[in-house]
């Protein structure tokens, strides 16, 4: 930049005529505009890709938030629920609720006979129907003996048929819903007994092998518990390490070595942290497999370097004049850091930490080694109960053969994206709220 042009050249420039100057200026403006256009093009292309990705996910996944239900007149017959006349909870819980569903369907289609046919008929409805009826009776035992119209979830194949993913026009051998099932379903539709309802179960339930019963809540809770552990460990340790390295540590070969290592660790593939977690937390410490504690510890190791690097950059950005002024007023080194430097660096530290957390939220590879890539039905009760996380849930569903899991996969991706967007918005908000300029 500071090169001094030879005088001869400068005089040469001065000799340019007015037209030539105007032409040069024009070409410079043109280059300017071209560059702006390239930039816009790049952004446009990136936006188009993003829209394509989001569009395909939303188009494929939005239907998972609705679930086909079938209304049936259920007779809560005492013989099937509690044949021995007992009315305590345990006895009621063991009733044959699937039998209630079967009886209602048989009453609706009295000419269906034969084992295979009956099996197909009860197959219209999800096994979750029986659970629903059990809950109803447990909540209100006075239902026994009564007759109610109840909305019950349809099976995944029927749900796919109703949503149009299975076409009724193809040959019978080629589709999962056979002609007789189609006939029954059409008859129920004509009676107005079929309806799409909001799939609350998807947002409140745990995982299931039946697509119509599968939900993401278990994975959300697992992700939450895991991230809490990660944050509790990685944030204080990361910030403390950054403060020491940036403000207190002497600059010598050892701190250089540490710095190189931290930068290196930030680039290590995440599966390596999984192996470390397996050897250390499961092997040496004997922590239980598949739990958020181990997941959180492993992800904390992974996010630590990211947080340290971001925090050091934020601390470095605080102008030295602040430190000098504080020292000039008699503050101790620790007071300088905690009263003046750290509060000013906090927005940057928080942004870096939240982005590190968002990174951890999307990880599956390290969790494979420590047993969190697992089928877990129960909603985890705490950091020591078995759990899985959202990205793992997506991975498991994407690998399941049932067609209905395709839309569930996309819907779970939408839920994960929503959380990532929330975290990133929080980072932006924190920065806006606390940012200072000098």
């Amino acid at each position: 930049m500071t090169d001094v042009l030879p005088r001869a050249d400068i005089s040469a420039v001065r000799k340019l005529s007015a037209e030539e100057q105007a032409a040069r200026l024009k070409s410079r403006y043109r280059a300017d505009r071209r560059f702006k256009f390239y930039g816009l093009g790049a952004i446009g292309l990136a936006l188009a890709m993003l829209l394509l990705l989001l569009g395909s996910i939303v188009l494929q996944g939005y239907s998972a938030f609705w679930q086909t239900h079938i209304k049936l007149p259920i007779e809560f017959s005492a013989e099937l629920i509690a044949p021995d006349g007992k009315r305590d909870r345990d006895a009621l819980a063991e009733g044959d609720y699937q039998g209630l569903v079967r009886a209602a369907l048989q009453a609706k289609f009295p000419d269906v006979s034969g084992r295979q046919e009956l099996r197909a008929l009860t197959g219209l409805l999800s096994q979750g129907g029986a659970d629903r009826l059990r809950e109803m009776v447990l909540d209100d035992p006075s239902l026994i003996g009564a007759k109610r119209e109840v909305w019950l979830p349809a099976s995944d194949d029927i749900d796919m048929l109703h949503k149009g993913s299975i076409s009724a026009s193809s040959g019978q051998d080629e589709r999962r819903v056979k002609d007789n099932e189609l006939g029954w379903f059409d008859a129920l539709t004509k009676e107005g007994r079929v309806e799409s309802q909001f799939n609350t179960r998807f947002l409140t339930g745990g995982d299931s092998r039946e697509p119509e019963l599968a939900g993401v809540w278990g994975a959300i809770v697992g992700s939450f518990l895991t991230l809490i552990i990660t944050m509790l460990l990685a944030f204080p340790i990361g910030v403390a390490a950054a403060i020491y390295l940036e403000e207190f540590a002497p600059k010598n070969r050892w701190t250089d070595l540490i710095e190189v290592n931290i930068n290196n660790l930030a680039a290590v593939p995440s599966i390596v942290f999984g192996l470390l977690g397996l050897a250390m937390f499961l092997g040496t410490f004997g922590l239980p497999r598949s739990t958020p504690v181990v997941g959180g510890l492993t992800l904390a190791l992974m996010t630590l370097p990211i947080i340290i690097i971001a925090s050091r950059a934020a601390l470095k950005a605080v102008p030295p004049s602040i430190r000098e002024a504080a020292r000039g007023l008699g503050a101790s080194p620790m007071q300088v850091v905690f009263h003046h430097v750290l509060p000013l660096a906090m927005p940057g530290v928080l942004t870096g930490s939240i982005l590190g957390m968002a990174h951890a939220l999307g990880e599956t590879a390290p969790l494979l080694m420590i047993g969190m890539v697992a089928f877990i039905v129960d909603i985890p009760g705490g950091p020591l109960s078995s759990a899985t996380v959202l990205p793992v849930q997506i991975f498991i569903w994407a690998d399941s053969p049932e067609r209905a899991f395709v839309e569930k996969t996309s819907a779970a991706i939408m839920v994960l994206l929503a959380f990532l967007i929330l975290m990133n918005l929080a980072a932006v908000w924190l920065r806006r709220r606390f940012e200072r300029r000098w």
Partner: protein, 344 residues
Amino acid sequence: MQISTAALATLAALSFAGAAQAQSRDQISIAGSSTVFPFSTAVAEQFGKTGKFKTPKVESIGTGGGIKEFCKGVGIQFTDIANASRRIKKEEVADCNKNGVTDIVEVKIGFDGIVVAQSKSGPAMELSKEILWKALAKQVPVNGKMAENPYKTWNEVDPSLPKTKIEVLGPPPTSGTRDAYVELVMEEGCKGFAEVKAITDAKAHKIACTQMREDGAFIEAGENDNLMVQKLNANKDAVAIFGFSFLDQNADRIRGINVGGIAPTFENIASGKYSVSRSMFFYVKKAHVAVVPGLKEFITAFTDEKAWGKNGYLLDKGLIPLPDAERKKVGDEARALTGLNLGS
């Protein structure tokens, strides 16, 4: 540094809590093959619904990984059951024994067919193990000598086949499906060629039989079978190799190709007529039966006719059941916790 001291204290507290928790466990821990995963999880869910025991935890970490975890030792920090899409190997049993895992109960649960499928709109094909080997092996006999596979289209391999590009999607080497495919198709298919038989060195012979071509005709499509189904839809000339349950679920879009004149149907796989199928197993640590509540009941639930029988719910998940007599025998032995016998 008060904050980090607190964090360290938390860590210490957590590891103590973990150690305390490890003293007892009320949840069955299962890990292993991703092929057995759909069946194991279905039984686990039904088992949990009875309400007497917690729903078992099922991990999908591959057959090898599952057996490795299983063989690490006896104690509640180790898994109780290993799922496997092949039989446990002698070396693995030896490894188990070394770590004190001596009493192992083997339960064979059924078959999984490996199918070769194509898009419904693709040209009709009839394949055999020989054709598959000739189309996919790295080195094949050309004019009486072994040479790099020269075939680009199917009709070059066999005149009865259409003139379309050879493009086969298949599982990567890390997958159990790949192992089974190599064993059941490639190693069988190469037997029909005199030039391969002429290779006397056992190692070279095995390589000639099992090595897949790497010039782009065989495409390793990752472990996700749903993705392969989608790719078949997009490319009508392509052929893919995957598990039967994915064919079963997508019969409106793709069709199974006959291998050696036998169609990959449920009946043919169950009767053994369609030979490209493998057995699936799970292994139970006997020493854990008395310690982990519900383990014995889980075996009973899995070997119940309602689950793995001819009309059981596992059939809806794509399981191909054992023949009646074998199922009864395996079930009885499993419930009686009969120990593993790999033979001599």
